[in-house]
């Protein structure tokens, strides 16, 4: 019997008083309470609970009956949230997913972070003392002036100074005995016999953060067992990382041959040229060439510090069998630490007692003060003691529980949109009167992402740089009414895109200057989609009058590849067909599974496709590289899914990508967007808009689509929440009484008939 099993049974016997009372009062109804007690002693508590479920009713305590949380949490300073998809990786070298960032961004602290309130998005120090400015070196490692031409720069050197006094969270990997030796670094199978989760280790320890921990993590990106998703990209930039990855691969193979699969590869013994410790609080990263966007990467968990002790601790034989890995139990310096990790049920973040302290920002945009977002300026973070994330796979129960007050904030699904949101006469969204009476508030923000429909530029019909194909693409761009699309399929939550760069990113142009003049006109101070007659005129010029090929007379048939199969997508795909039919084009939808769709994209056999991109960092390069020729999907396996290649665009991209944000860069970006709008390799689609609803007790919410470590800024009023929950969730018992009476009444005629039959003569 496992240790965990024993503890569960013990906790099961220590029933809450009221539950025991209920249980005992049902003794006669159950018939044999001692029999059940015996079962309680031998069976799993879940099974016992199942029995109680059928023999007991609500306990009638002060918390609402439908409260999904333990009574002990009533009034506690806990933030309640949910997640829909189980996280796969919590290792900062592996995780590259928003769902996972929700957890690890609260635990790990990279050198930089985004300012919570200021817009456009701005980097500020987190564990670093300041945002590092690179030094530039030539090929002989001689220092160059700051304004040196990009072509002369062979290396960029970032010296990053970390703040002193930062400590890691308590963790058994740091625990030492009286002699100063690590308690849990050499464990036998017997030592691990009663260990099933991290909390089973009695001792924990902590230590100061050092610059070596940052370097260690950069080396981990190249670890062959970790398969870091950015090792390929970073190998292009960090000096020597590619060779380092190859070196580690052969060392690791050799080590495994000698010591087995769980051998610990101690990266401290293998230096990496591009990441070096300068002193205890300073480390140096050397980048090949000039790459100003590297600073943004320093705000991601990939570059957060990881202590070598954690790797050493988790690498021991028997740990992985118990799911005790760094991929499962992070070790960080952040405001929270992961204390419960059950991705099938609940993830719990608890305040890190060793947190170094950070204060709520005292500056933001002018509107922030008016919105009360600066009321907590200068106060220490985090505000909540604990964050409980519950798995909610379905939107309906999630929404219902949010309205009952059991979740503090929520997005708005299509199912509940009309119930929650209405548009004012000016077209701005607001909560409905019913929701306003409950005290709900709405926050919105346009995301730094884009969803678009792309043309495969390698295709003979829709692709290429010839004028015929270009006019065809422009005609289709006009015909696809994305304003209607947003209204129907996104409940109005989106902004029609004029180009690849979303609002909030350097290089985005608003107003008249920013419209796509090939698709829109500027009318009454607003962009207005060109009429369909203009699209038909372009079709005729392209040689497809009324959608028929002028040479063959055959109708134009286009193929749209999508991974959106299934009945849920039918209406959307029908809408696409209708849009193309406006031009006489027959659209054939080739819906398939995601694997086949990926294959088609890699081989370039698709004609039209839909795709999206969420910004890694707020820089135009992160969007314009999606149209950069040498980044094509088919030839280079890159992210240019349309396989668009325009020499002028590519030339400008190479100039623009390494520039600092200045007027010249803005001019180049605008020119590139103009070229892309003219060539129309994408139908630009839209930038989704984020709608977040929150209760009156939830404070300091400002949607920040770049930062993930925002939980620390949230403050709640637990007293108000408890009051509202009680008010909103009074149990209604009378229907149960009515049903019981009806059942009893209905039994009367049955009994009468039964007795009559029993007394009746056989013949």
């Amino acid at each position: 019997m496992s240790g965990r099993f024993i503890r569960h049974i013990q906790s099961g016997l220590m029933l809450p008083t009221k539950l025991c009372a209920t249980f005992a009062s049902r003794k006669h109804a159950v018939g044999n309470v001692w029999g059940i007690r015996r079962v309680l002693n031998t069976a799993r508590p879940e099974l016992c609970a199942a029995m109680l479920a059928v023999t007991s009713v609500g306990c009638g305590n002060s918390t609402p009956w439908n409260d999904p949380y333990p009574a002990s949490q009533t009034g506690a300073n806990i933030l309640y949230s949910a997640f829909q998809e189980q996280p796969k990786h919590l290792d900062p070298a592996r995780s590259y997913n928003v769902n996972e960032a929700l957890f690890i961004a609260q635990v790990y602290e990279p050198p930089l972070q985004y300012h919570y309130l200021k817009r456009p998005y701005r980097l500020v120090p987190l564990t670093a003392t300041k945002v590092p400015e690179p030094r530039y070196l030539d090929a002989e490692f001689r220092e160059l002036p700051a304004g040196a031409p990009t072509g002369d720069i062979a290396y960029s050197v970032y010296d990053i100074h970390i703040r002193p006094g930062i400590r890691y969270q308590p963790h058994p990997a740091f625990a030492r005995d009286a002699e100063g030796n690590y308690r849990y670094h050499v464990l036998s199978r017997a030592d691990l016999e009663d260990v099933h989760e991290l909390g089973d280790f009695r001792h924990t320890g902590a230590r100061l953060l050092t610059a070596a921990d940052f370097v260690y993590q950069i080396k981990r990106l190249a670890h062959p067992d970790l398969n870091s998703p950015i090792v390929g990209l970073m190998s292009e930039y960090i000096l020597g990382l590619d060779e380092y990855a190859q070196q580690l691969r052969s060392i690791s193979d050799e080590l495994k041959r000698k010591q087995g699969a769980s051998a610990f590869l101690d990266l401290r013994h293998y230096p990496l040229e591009g990441a070096q410790v300068v002193n205890r609080t300073t480390y140096r990263i050397t980048i090949k060439g000039k790459y100003p966007q590297f600073r943004y990467w320093l705000a991601m968990p990939f570059f957060a510090p990881v202590p070598w002790e954690a790797d050493r601790f988790y690498s021991q034989r028997g740990m992985a069998e118990r799911n005790l890995t760094l991929d499962w139990y992070p070790v960080g310096t952040g405001p929270f630490m992961l204390t419960q990790n059950n991705p099938n049920l609940r993830m719990v973040l608890t305040r890190n007692p060793n947190f170094h302290g950070e204060r709520y920002p005292d500056a933001g945009t002018p509107a922030d003060g008016r919105a009360g977002l600066l009321a907590d300026a200068g106060r220490p973070l985090p505000f909540v003691d604990k964050v409980i994330f519950s798995l909610e796979k379905e939107s309906i129960p999630y929404w219902s529980k949010f309205l009952q007050g059991y979740y503090d904030a929520s997005g708005v699904s299509s199912d509940s949109f009309d119930q929650a949101i209405q548009f004012s006469g000016q077209g701005s969204p607001e909560v409905t009167p019913t929701m306003r009476r409950k005290g709900l508030e709405l926050e919105t923000a346009v995301t730094t992402s884009i969803y678009y429909m792309g043309f495969n530029m390698l295709d003979e019909v829709v692709g290429g740089q010839n004028e015929r194909a270009r006019k065809l693409r422009r005609a289709i761009s006009i015909a696809l009414d994305y304003e209607e699309y947003i209204s129907i399929f996104a409940n109005g939550r989106g902004l029609p895109a004029q180009g690849p760069i979303p609002p909030g990113i350097f290089g985005h142009r608003g107003g008249r200057a920013g419209i796509n003049r090939y698709v829109y006109d500027w009318v009454d101070g607003q962009p207005r989609r060109k009429p369909i007659t203009e699209a038909r005129r372009l079709m005729a010029q392209a040689g497809y009058p009324n959608g028929r090929d002028v040479d063959t007379g055959e109708p134009l048939v286009l193929y749209f590849d999508t991974a959106a199969a299934g009945p849920d997508s039918k209406s959307r795909l029908d809408w696409f067909r209708k849009q193309f039919a406006k031009l006489g084009i027959q659209l054939v939808v080739r819906a398939t599974d995601y694997n086949r769709f990926q294959d088609k994209m890699l081989k370039g056999t698709e004609q039209l496709f839909e795709w999206g991109w969420v910004a890694d960092y707020p820089d135009p390069e992160n969007f314009l590289f999606l149209l950069y020729g040498p980044n094509a999907k088919v030839s280079e396996n890159g992210e240019n899914a349309a396989n668009y290649a325009n020499p002028e665009f590519d030339r400008l991209f190479r100039r623009m990508k390494n520039m600092d944000n200045n007027a010249e860069r803005r001019r180049l970006t605008a020119r590139m967007v103009d070229i892309a709008q003219r060539d129309a390799p994408w139908i630009w689609g839209f930038h989704p808009e984020l709608f977040v609803l929150h209760h009156a007790w939830y404070h300091n919410l400002k949607p920040n689509t770049m930062a993930n470590n925002t939980v620390k800024y949230i403050r709640i009023d637990p007293k108000l929440r408890a009051e509202r929950r009680r008010t909103w969730n009074q149990p209604v018992i009378w229907p149960l009484v009515v049903v019981a009476v009806l059942v009893l009444v209905s039994l009367v005629p049955a009994i009468v008939v039964y007795r009559r039959r029993e007394r009746a003569a056989a013949l």
């Binding site: 099961g12 539950l19 799993r44 879940e46 099974l47 016992c48 609970a49 199942a50 109680l52 479920a53 007991s56 609402p64 009956w65 439908n66 999904p68 949380y69 333990p70 796969k88 990786h89 590259y96 997913n97 062959p224 398969n227 998703p229 950015i230 090792v231 390929g232 990209l233 992985a320 118990r322 799911n323 499962w328 059950n342 099938n344 049920l345 519950s390 798995l391 796979k393 379905e394 309906i396 129960p397 219902s400 529980k401 009952q404 059991y406 694997n595 990926q598 294959d599 396996n637 992210e639 009074q730 149990p731 209604v732 018992i733 229907p735 149960l736 049955a750 039964y754 039959r757 056989a762």
Partner: protein
């Protein structure tokens, strides 16, 4: 009987190999190792080198079924099929492609599934038999007709409707129990009331109809007529004679599904947020985690075989005329 059990157990081996082979074949027809790698590595910035590295690290860089480059038995053993399947027969499920211990996951997730499945089965059975006997007692009357019509109506309603309706009425309108969620240990009870109730109510229509048919068949037999002829009350006829004999098909049917109970219910667990095994396989298929898929299919097959064996044995226990040879 022991010889029979041993023989049936031995029959299970080729069946399990066949099931494993079919699972393997079907999975890799839909998903190539490259697809799996891309799925696990994410959708951004996945390089061919990263794909190759993932396949190497997870043992998916070998041929599927036959290794032409190897020599001797290695042609068979140095393949994905052999490497991923042979340990299953020792019930060593290994690790998922994400690195989690599958056996641990199953052991952890089976208890919440059982906590729903066992009371749903037992109480549902009790209620269905009670209703069926009541209807059989009033056979040929308007009550019988009305009850059958009601059962057909209940059978026709989707389980999803019962779930959403139950959550809306009981959890949201009446505020009696949590709409969804789960607490481990003894506090799980209040989260189980609604899913268990929904599970029972959604099965009443079909269960009652089925058991009514069994009872009516028994009530038409000669021994019932004899019992009535000797003056027994209808209550005794029903409970002492009809019920006992009707239990044979009921029990044998139930024994077959008993081992499968812990596999959980996809819909109930998904909507009620119960961390059981119901969605484990579906989630694994969606995330292209072959390790979990093959483990769960293997386990399901093994349990089904055990269920059928138990059914055969239960025949001999409840019907003395049956002998296993």
């Amino acid at each position: 009987m022991i010889a029979y059990i041993i023989r049936r157990t031995l029959y299970a081996v080729p069946i399990l190999i066949g099931v494993n082979l079919i699972t393997f074949f079907l999975f890799f027809v839909v998903n190539s190792p490259d697809d799996m790698a891309r799925m696990h590595l994410g959708i951004k910035r996945v390089t061919p080198a990263a794909v190759e590295q993932w396949k190497h690290a997870h043992g998916y860089d070998q041929p599927l079924l036959w290794n032409e480059a190897a020599g001797g038995t290695a042609k068979l053993t140095e393949t994905i099929f052999y490497a991923k399947s042979v340990r299953l027969f020792m019930f060593d499920f290994g690790r998922s492609d994400e690195g989690r211990d599958i056996g641990h996951d199953i052991r952890q997730r089976m208890w919440p599934s059982l906590a729903i499945a066992i009371p749903t089965l037992l109480i549902g059975l009790l209620m269905n038999i009670t209703f069926a006997m009541l209807i059989a007692f009033f056979r040929g009357t308007a009550f019988d007709l009305a009850a059958v019509v009601l059962c057909v109506m209940m059978m026709s309603v989707s389980t999803l409707f019962y779930i959403i309706g139950g959550q809306f009425l009981v959890g949201k309108i009446l505020d009696l129990v949590p709409i969804s969620g789960y607490l481990s240990g003894i506090e799980a009870w209040k989260f189980l009331i609604l899913p268990v109730t929904v599970g029972i109510v959604s099965g009443i229509g079909m269960g009652t109809r089925w058991y009514r048919t069994i009872f009516l068949e028994e009530l038409g037999k000669d021994y019932i007529r004899t019992a009535r002829a000797k003056g027994l009350s209808e209550r005794l006829v029903l409970f002492r004679h009809a019920l006992r004999n009707a239990l044979i098909p009921i029990l044998t049917g139930i024994v077959a599904v008993l081992p499968l109970l812990f596999m959980g219910s996809l819909l109930l667990e998904s909507f009620f947020g119960i961390p059981g095994l119901g969605s484990y396989t579906i989630d694994a298929i969606n995330s292209q985690d072959f390790a979990i898929v093959r483990a769960m299919v293997f386990l399901g097959s093994a349990l089904y075989i055990i269920g059928l064996l138990l059914t055969d044995i239960s025949y001999t226990l409840v019907d003395p005329r049956v002998r296993l040879q």
